[in-house]
Amino acid sequence: MTGLAFVSPWIIGFCVFQLLPICLAFYFSFTEYSVLESPLWIGLDNYAGLVRDPVFWKATANTGVFVVLVVALGTVLAIGIACLLNTNVWGRTVWRAMVFLPSLVPLVAAAMVWMWLYNGELGIINRTLDPVLGAVNALLRTDLRSPDWLGDPGWILVSLVIMTLWTLGNAMVIYLAALQDVPRSLYEAAAIDGVSRFGRFRHVTLPMISPVVLFNVITGLIAAWQVFAVPYIMLGPAGGPGRAGYFYTTYLYDNSLPYLRMGYASSMAWVQLVVILALTGLILWASKRVVHYQGGR
């Protein structure tokens, strides 16, 4: 009963604010529902429609690739940078602030700034790359060109991943906090035993921060799956050429109000829930042997 008492604020909030909307969304997924008119029961038609919908599959595939890249690279980079900025470098506070600040920039402004950076001719990225590639071309007689970051379907996902990684400051701050919890005595013991620097990271740091890594991987997965606003602003509502930047949540949103197919959008929401829950379950199961809870389970 004590446990339930502690958790009760959330349970009350859940019942008041979320339970009904979630149940209704479940019901809507079996209906034709335009938001403006009352829902009409159509059974499993929405789910059957998803299976046959090539745009749904395209958006899901894009999202899958994006999620894998962002979560994998984001985890490695955030841990790496957090560890680096946790050592005794000079000017630590400033570097930390600089890495963290991008997550605060309003999305509209962030998307705009990156559109300028990615501009094929005037953008800083290509203006830096062009002379380099020019020199390489002259030397090796190749014909390398700077990428068309937001126009070439092959590069769009990469561009979006890079921009998303720019906001990894959130995760870095969480890792920084976690690194403070690693008892110094463990490092000292390891150092006395002659464990190498990498060995100390592998056998002390990583196990000690593993619960937080788990947290960041799961919430990173959820956040990356719901990527939406930035590609919408940078590539327009259709997600750029060949729908290369068209994601699951973009399609879900387009269906919900713009296409007036809230029923269809709701069925997408439930598919999403099942997929992410399954992935989370998989991660939790796989992590059982890896994640170390000093406080026990």
Binding site: G13, A97, M98, V105, P106, G169, S185, S266
Partner: protein
Amino acid sequence: MARTSGIGSRAARTALAALIAALFALPLLSMVLTSLKPTEQTLADSAALLPEPLSATPRYALDNYIGEVDDDGIVIARGVWTDPIVDFPLFFRNSLIVAILSVTGAVISSAIVAYGFARVRWKGRGPVFGLLLATMMIPFPVLMGPMYIIFKQLGWIGTLRPLWVPAWFGVAFSIFLLRQFYMTIPRELDEAAAIDGCSHLGILVRIILPLSKPALAVVALLQFIAVWNDFLGPLIFLQHREQFTLALGLALYQSQAGNVPWNLLMAASTLVVLPVAVVFVLTQRTFVEGIATQGLKG
């Protein structure tokens, strides 16, 4: 911070840190520099990085940030702080109110709820925790219609309440984060306290919370950012410009025919980032030296 080696590698690490930080800061620099230019130079070709002529920068900056309004209230130069259409001080104030209320609520309630998930064994804990995780995975667009109706029944549409009251019942993301942190705290500590006759509430307040300061600071910070950047919620639930938050208000710079004053948008964004940057620099010691310096766990 004891993980040191030779001074040479400290310099190397500093160089690497500076390089990484510079890469992250480049887009920010572009944002700030744009905010110092007059409209016709935003996006201009050639020496696009800096305003031209450089000597006029203070005047441009003054125009973009402060603006100029004559005695009759006629706008001579649109500036972020005095622009009548995008009322930055008002939106800033609204965002601050929502942020303060929701961060306070989220930290207090999540700290309590997370204890129930991390430190107390009870029947149904697993499934309820699963439910908590699941609520993060349902996209807002399919929930906002029914949520609107609930808030309408409560009489909250057109007030700031839908944006902060729910945070007082715990935020799934924060609960999950705190649970992970609580679980890294050795159990022997609360067992000892329990033997001394401490209740669960006592353990939470006297042992867990003091040890979780960095985590609580992170929860506060991330909740702040989430509220600060939320766009869809305010869009759906607010009804008057007087209540607009910054994220929603900044969209007012965008006109239908595309006339966006980029310099103003960037100036406003700089002003949005600046206070948080100051708070971050001042408080980041909390994440860094919270426990380690107190030596409680060493």
